[in-house]
């Protein structure tokens, strides 16, 4: 089974705008969904620090996230 790759930026600007919330929310996904995702962290994605927090899911970059937005993105794009 090909894993879905989620990269969350943990750089300082993203942390300031809530990257910790995103990381925490991923761990709270239900088991079935969580198993399909490989979680990685990144030091900076795309240099778009003024749009923090940023994450990349299956190669696409999403900006200005919050846990709810991230959940929707994953639900819609999961393989």
């Amino acid at each position: 089974m090909s894993k879905n790759i989620l990269k969350i930026c943990i750089g300082t600007p993203c942390h300031l705008m809530g990257a910790a919330n995103l990381l925490e929310s991923v761990e709270k996904f239900d088991c079935k969904l969580r198993q399909k995702i490989e979680l990685k962290t990144s030091h900076c994605i795309d240099n778009c620090c003024d749009q923090a927090p940023v994450a990349e899911f299956n190669g696409k970059v999403y900006q200005n996230l919050n846990p709810e937005k991230l959940y929707k993105i994953i639900r819609e794009n999961i393989k």
């Binding site: 943990i10 750089g11 300082t12 300031l16 809530g18 030091h43």
Partner: protein, 473 residues
Amino acid sequence: MSNNAISEIVKLKRKLYVELLKLVKSGDLTAEISNLSKKMITKDTARYRCCEFKERAIFEERIKAVLGFNIAENSKKSLEELAASLPRWQKKKRIVEVIGKACDSCPIDKYLVTDACRNCVAHKCVNSCPVKAIVVIQNKAYIDQDKCVECGKCAQACSYNAILENERPCSRACELDAISSDSNRQAKIDQKKCVSCGSCIAACPFGAITAISDLIEVALNLFAEKNNLAVMLAPSFLGQFGHQQSAAKVNYALKKVGFRLVREVAAGAEITAAAEAEELEEKIEFNKTLLSSCCPAFKKMVENEFEELSALISKTDSPMSVTAAEIKSKTPELKTVFVGPCTAKKAEALKDKNVDYVLNFAEMLALFTASNINLAQINEEEELNDAGQLGRQFAYAGGLQQSLKELTASDFKCRQLDGLGRLKKELYLIRANKHDYNFLEGMACSGGCVGGPFSMINQNLAKKLVKEFAESF
């Protein structure tokens, strides 16, 4: 107390920190400050108020708070004028303040009947009301607010959940009933009761309550490269600077950004613990009770509301105070900056001549961001070895009690409580002499400092990281 979920309002505040810091760094603070609200709030940005003009007016009040000025006293002064007058010569009068313009004057009535009321035959609400405050008018139940005693029985009784508990978030969060409303129905803080715990700041969904900040003052010193600042890291700092950012890296990064000295407040906590243990021995001998003094919000509450018990508070200085005194005695020209998750420490610092500034973690992270320093991209580290477990475990509830148990030779009973509401009840018991212990550890925030209103991460995670760090020594 805190749930560290980052709302739009928190983001807006933090963006403001970064923008202001960039202005300080480039030296354009006074020249550009009056344009900042226009730059950051445009017609197209997300809007939460009636129009962008109101939004900007509120924003300017926020800027004043970040500059370090009390809002009410400086309402007539322009931002330019205030920025030019920095470094501040007037002392802050208080830490927690309501931004009048931002307060939405939420309803004051605690119980309201909503449209879900069907004027049923049973009328359980009317029957359940102990003071006969509910009448049925025009096919709908109606609560006479003059009679209502806010017991909540009607809300429980209603079969349609038609009665709503509707307390203001700020006053619900305040466990000391320090928030009332003024003649405009806006929130008003009773400074005689307020202990600056910061719960209302975190609770208000409009962001209408704010803490007066030291951020710009610190930045003015830092960016002028005076090399005169010493950071004091609260014992709860682990993990607060980012995912997997070690203490050693935080130490390195702080020095890189321009702080001359970095010191763990846990070092002061060790001294505090030792002194408190001595005090405790004495109390045990006479079978008296000692109250902990390291949480400034708890200490202030005892002083405000239980004057007769204030003699029981430990005379030992808080870890922050001890650490600051130590730094100043060695290097008097240094200015001390405490960094932590706490607002009450800001209030404590006003009375402590050795503590010059207090920042929260977000403010410090904004300093990194504005200086283009990304901790995740730094590989260098510099060990931080100021303190052992006895001091480091002060960060979570129960830690102080544990340290004292280790330091005290004689046997004693103790009790640990967190949350101001619970502590207040306990203090009533102590006053009535209905307690059986010699030591009470009181922490205003649930979970202790790791659960502070300005903690950046989940408190369980924070506690785990602090424990690991404490045991690593």
